[in-house]
């Protein structure tokens, strides 16, 4: 699903990484580890199709199939949870979107707060909403950058459940605390 040959990324003079070869087949789970600032986020943004590599070849599935979440939940703070999810459901052409939105709000424990503005949410709730946004179109490929970081306990449990439920799809997960997801990984990449 995701293939890269000789991938390199430089920011001006600074070389983040080079000579990376990546092969994540369908159903694979790539675990990317390393300390903060080592280049994990940069790599994940490239694998999600958001950033361009400086050199190398990259093969990605089409945008429709990729879901991405990073440190920020990527939702509008002045819209309600429901409005946010509805927006993205429509953009992704999710069938029967109002039901799907309701379903996800429940699954992530946001049912009660569905019609409150995201700016009133706690950080953990915002991140849960972000995850819900990612899962709306039921993506084939999930690129998750430190997904457990901003999640509260409830959210982490939901994420574990999601990873279980979506087994068989393709994952790229970056984390500086690999213990939680190690057992799921089919390949791994360590940044120094």
């Amino acid at each position: 699903m995701i293939r890269a040959r000789n991938l390199a990324k430089r920011f001006g003079d600074k070389r983040v990484f080079d000579g990376l070869d990546i092969d994540v087949p369908q159903g694979g789970f790539l675990l990317v580890t390393g300390p903060n600032g080592s280049g994990k986020t940069t790599l994940l943004r490239i694998l999600a199709g958001l950033a361009a590599p400086t050199a190398g070849e990259l093969e990605l599935p089409e945008r429709r199939l990729i879901g991405f979440i990073a440190h920020d939940p990527l939702v509008y703070r002045e819209l309600t949870a429901r409005e946010n999810l509805t927006l993205f459901a429509r953009l992704y052409g999710v069938p029967r979107w109002s039901e799907r939105v309701a379903e996800l709000l429940e699954a992530f424990g946001l049912g009660a707060a569905a019609d409150a503005r995201v700016s009133t949410f706690s950080r953990g709730m915002q991140q849960r909403l972000g995850l819900a946004r990612v899962l709306l179109p039921s993506p084939e490929v999930l690129v998750l950058d430190e997904p457990y970081n901003a999640l509260d306990a409830e959210g982490s449990a939901v994420l574990d459940g999601v990873l279980d439920e979506f087994r068989g799809r393709t994952f790229v997960v970056a984390t500086h605390d690999p213990a939680r997801v190690e057992r799921r990984a089919t390949e791994s990449l360590a940044f120094a």
Binding site: A48, G49, L50, A51, A52, E62, R63, R64, I66, F68, A70, D72, L74, V75, Y76, R77, E78, L79, E83, L87, F88, R90, L91, Y92, G93, R117, R133
Partner: protein, 212 residues
């Protein structure tokens, strides 16, 4: 989702955000009325109607700048731009929707500004209103694209006026010419500007927001 559907969805979102925030539109309205007031004091006696009409256009351009500055702020500050860019929609739909929203604020500000102008200075004729309408389209289509560029830059509030003003010069020429009654060719020129720049903006927006 169809292209038009996507544009509608995004435009609805933009308008909703502004209605909730209630920041940009009031500022634009106050700014334009304040500008017209300053212009009254800036124009020496006996300046005449033509000079005043010129000032109207200056006020409109700078008021538009105020609105354009805020156009992509939510997307950048909250990082949502990444999510929009990743969505399977055509990226130019983001531009179209945002232009429509900015156009809405600008027209709303003008609903106050034009009568204020008529009150403070001289009357308005059909040509002026038509010119304002055409100019608005050009301002919003070009300005939205430039706003997206500026928002990626460091000193964004400084950069946007620099980018926008040279491109606004033809708009001012067309607008003032039409307002002082120099003939329909100025309106035609505005229409030409709109058509050409809207096309270029539509075709190139993707490259402004996407790296790959």
């Amino acid at each position: 989702m169809s292209y038009v559907g996507d544009v509608a969805t995004l435009a609805r979102k933009d308008l909703l955000l502004e209605l909730r925030a209630k920041e940009t539109l009031p500022a634009m309205v106050i700014f334009v009325v304040a500008s017209l007031t300053i212009f009254h004091f800036a124009l020496p006696t006996g300046s005449g109607e033509v000079a005043a009409k010129g000032m109207l256009w200056v006020a409109l351009v700078f008021t538009a700048l105020l609105g354009l500055n805020r156009a992509f702020v939510a997307e950048r500050e909250q990082g949502v731009m990444d999510a929009l860019v990743l969505a399977p929609t055509d990226r130019s739909a983001i531009w179209a929707a945002k232009s429509i929203a900015v156009l809405a604020y600008l027209v709303a500000a003008e609903v106050v500004a034009l009568p204020a102008f008529a009150l403070f200075f001289s009357g308005l004729d059909g040509a002026t209103v038509a010119a304002v309408a055409l100019a608005d389209i050009g301002i919003c289509t070009v300005g939205t694209l430039l706003g997206a560029m500026a928002v990626a830059a460091r000193a964004r509030e400084l950069v946007l006026p620099l980018l926008f003003l040279p491109l606004a010069i033809p708009i001012v020429v067309g607008g003032v010419g039409a307002s002082v009654g120099e003939g329909p060719r100025f309106l035609l020129f505005l229409a030409l500007y709109d058509a050409i720049f809207a096309l270029v903006a539509w075709a190139s927006f993707e490259y402004v927001v996407v790296e790959t």
